[in-house]
Symmetry: C2
Subunit: 261 residues, 2 copies
């Protein structure tokens, strides 16, 4: 499986993706699911992919090729982000149909994408492109999009992500959402890629590649665990606990016990 997400806030965009692919339990691979298409000062696009790897690789290849060969339409000729999303949806369905026409094993060639970026100084946008080539974009009330194994990492986004959140904070929240998903589901795995795009910068932005043993990623996961234990500790007690009859443990002793297990 896969887990990818995007966040569109006032100050910019965040993209985050895992790198685990599998074709059956005994065929696990590592492939980047984050692809960038950057014309500095002009336009920036980011594509996150889930689904059939042959389809997604073919889509990415065609997106580069169409620009190189100046075949119209391409990412350079699109006058808006939704026009570019239309183009991605179109080549995705074409390539799926092309593969299906040669299929002998009832294979699922479907692919789903998150696609976003900025053209000139028009507002940055993000889209979720379905296997059918149609798409939705994020909304004011729901500024994030997810594809793949979306459920484990959704509660933290539901609670934290608003349009006016700081960009780096939104990026940390994306990493936590990814980390929770990786912990709970083996079909989603590191390395994790993170891209932070500041609005109107029209560059690729900051891109991080967090391997499994990355010290920052590890520290983030540990600190988040500690924060959750503390949050749990600070929850209102049940009526019968407030009598003082029981002696609650200190936060530290719980942290210690968790560390030593």
């Amino acid at each position: 499986m896969t887990y990818c997400l995007s966040i569109n806030v006032e100050r910019g965009l965040v993209f985050c993706s895992d790198s685990r692919t599998n074709a059956g339990m005994d065929s696990i691979g590592t492939y980047s699911k984050m692809h960038t298409f950057v014309w500095p000062g002009e336009r920036v696009f980011v594509l996150l992919s889930a689904g059939n790897l042959a389809t997604t690789q073919a889509v990415v290849k065609k997106m580069y090729r169409d620009v190189e060969q100046a075949w119209v339409p391409n990412l350079m000729t699109a006058t808006s982000l939704s026009e570019a999303a239309d183009y991605v949806g179109m080549i995705s369905t074409q390539l799926q149909r092309h593969q299906a026409s040669r299929d002998t094993a009832n294979t699922n060639f479907e692919a789903t994408f998150i696609f976003g970026g900025q053209i000139g100084y028009s507002p940055p946008e993000t889209f979720l492109i379905y296997p059918q080539g149609n798409y939705i974009h994020e909304s004011e009330e729901h500024p994030f999009l997810q594809i793949g194994e979306t459920k484990y990492g959704k509660p933290i986004l539901d609670r934290i992500i608003k349009r006016n959140i700081d960009l780096d904070r939104a990026a940390r929240c994306a990493l936590v959402s990814m980390n929770s998903t990786i912990r709970s589901n083996v079909t989603v795995g590191p390395p994790v890629e993170l891209l932070i795009y500041e609005r109107d910068s029209l560059t690729e932005g900051r891109r991080l590649f967090l391997a499994e043993d990355d010290p920052f990623a590890k520290q983030l996961s540990e600190k988040w665990n500690e924060g959750l234990i503390l949050a749990l500790e600070n929850l209102p007690k049940f009526a019968w606990e407030n009598t003082g009859a029981e002696t609650p443990e200190t936060n530290l002793s719980l942290l210690e016990r968790q560390r030593h297990r």
Copy 2:
């Protein structure tokens, strides 16, 4: 849908269930999914149910009836919890088959259960009973069980629940897991039922019924939100935030920047 979970720790058992049922989007109902069978000082059983409501109601009714009529086997004749779980699995498959034999609309009569409790002073146990009547029990390393919409509420359990956690703390964690699921998925909804069974008490234990406007449930949700924001706040900052400079390259040992063609 449904979300139910059980936690089996050294000091006892926690059961938690939502109350939303739906037969299509325009037929939403509220039914308790928590059923208790208690013989004080002797044996205690708790059943949480997911799936077809007619099946689960029929199973519960038969469990009560078999004891009343002294039809063997029943919950009183079971000499162990696994024998009792076998009995529940057996009547569940019988009742599913009975309904299916009269079906005209290709209905799904499947039901899944969490079943647990304690018989005398033998160790408390919990089981997840599949629609096929077979079951698994919780393990030392994985002391919780979930049925229904399990993914949203799993990360918090994965991170917090260990065998040696305090019982009330485990119960709060169950409520958080439930609260996150309710926020992220409309097919899971209040009232929330919570049962806290202290090991060797051989009573029903503490049972809470938390309606949508319950002050404790509301306070818990708000405090948890605050705790998460704090946890996010205390996460390690990105390299460029710590230096104050706008250059991510200042700490390459922590954050490896990926080259991209």
